[in-house]
Symmetry: C2
DNA sequence: CAGTGGTCTAGACCACAGG
DNA sequence: CTGTGGTCTAGACCACTGG
């Protein structure tokens, strides 16, 4: 059984993938344990572990101590979207980035905002609205609320030339966050900003970031009609 | 410098995160190499490697041989969406799953479809359209094209009780795929199926999966108005 | 060329959870 | 209780790439 051709974890992984694909190991069924596979593949158990762990992370295997390793019955595809600064996103596509601040103010937010951000309902937050452009056409409308208690330095910024998107990523650390993707109909105001028809379907991203137990910022991004977020599986 | 309190890779990772967060190590700057950190933390280099590699995968560090490890200048947040069988998705939310096939036929697809799937323009494909329901209300409309050359067994299925979504995941292996998220306006037909107003903004997922160099299936999912895909950062 | 991360190894101990 | 994966270690060699 000793097969000396699997010398690194990538080749072990490929062989495991091949067997799953060829239905040698079928969904829901156990595969041999790490020690046996190491023996068969002629490598150290650590190497097998690395290969299998990686496949488990991507959702193709289900591993449990003592219970062993199974081929996932319902393979969970993980679509990973890279969320970067919008300027970089546009420049990476070879387009010219443009930015225009629309509004900046310290405002008491709607209850929906203060509720989500868990700030006092009567406390003003920094509110910045801006348009990101690609090759001089509207790309995304950013509507953002910033918690000045957590980011006091943010109050000193005008956000006229550097977007809040970019400034915050550089200056406001966060520990975790939530992100939601949805579709919304353009209001007439949003249509005016994005130069599209009212009620156009807009891909929408809502993000809420935290630093420990405090909310840093809440942002809604509305993309131009037709915009797609793509990734591979 | 020997600090015996970092005994496992998770605690090393936490300490590294702490230093980045506390601006001890700042974006764009080099951090010590693995050997030095291992010395400082009082653990093996392998352990440091594991911690740093994991942070690099999540986009917080930038590692290059010889050049060393830097804190990422533009931290790339990775939003990972789990794409599962729709039935499971609904049941996991504690709702009752319902399914209704709308149409099944072997049809020559529009050029947009055969073009994307790289099949012959005149060759019929299996076309299945169906509605997924949660607690008896429309949840998602699935419009799918299946390549019978790659999945011949799929022709024998009626998809009346088991959705193509679920049948394919179980019986048709794939090697890779593309996925795109967008927003579209409901046509009057789609509005009728999803029981919503015409031109409602619908979150849309287009998926194209491959087995080697052949296209397995192309599917468009239109979700009920207001539907959100959520994840953490 | 030489410094860095990338990986492999053999062996060891441990944590968890199935039976 | 015991089999399984999870991890750590010390040491080694390798691959890449910056200077």
């Amino acid at each position: 059984m000793n097969n000396p051709s699997f010398r690194n974890w990538q080749s072990v992984q490929e062989e495991v993938l091949r067997r799953i694909h060829a239905r040698v190991w079928t969904p829901g069924n156990l595969i041999p344990n790490e020690a046996d596979l190491a023996l068969e593949f002629g490598c150290a158990r650590t190497t097998v572990n690395r290969a299998l762990r990686s496949l488990a992370e991507s959702g193709l295997l289900d591993r449990r101590r003592k219970a062993g390793t199974r081929v996932a019955a319902q393979p969970v595809a993980k679509a990973t979207l890279d969320i970067t600064v919008i300027r970089i996103e546009i420049e990476d596509r070879g387009q010219k980035y443009g930015y225009q601040r629309i509004e900046r103010g310290e405002t008491v937010p709607p209850l929906a905002i203060s509720g989500a951000m868990k700030t006092h309902a009567t406390r003003p937050l920094l509110h910045v609205r801006a348009l990101h452009m690609a090759d001089d056409t509207p790309y995304a409308f950013e509507d953002r609320w910033i918690n000045p208690e957590v980011v006091p330095k943010g109050l000193a910024e005008s956000y006229e030339t550097v977007s809040a998107n970019e400034w915050l990523l550089k200056h406001a650390p966060y520990t975790h966050g939530e992100i939601a993707f949805s579709a919304t109909s353009a209001t007439s105001e949003e249509a005016g900003i994005l130069c599209c028809n009212k009620n156009s379907a807009l891909l929408t991203i809502d993000r809420l970031t935290w630093d420990g137990s405090s909310t840093v910022t809440k942002v809604r991004l509305l993309f131009e009609p037709g915009h797609q977020l793509r990734t591979n599986l």
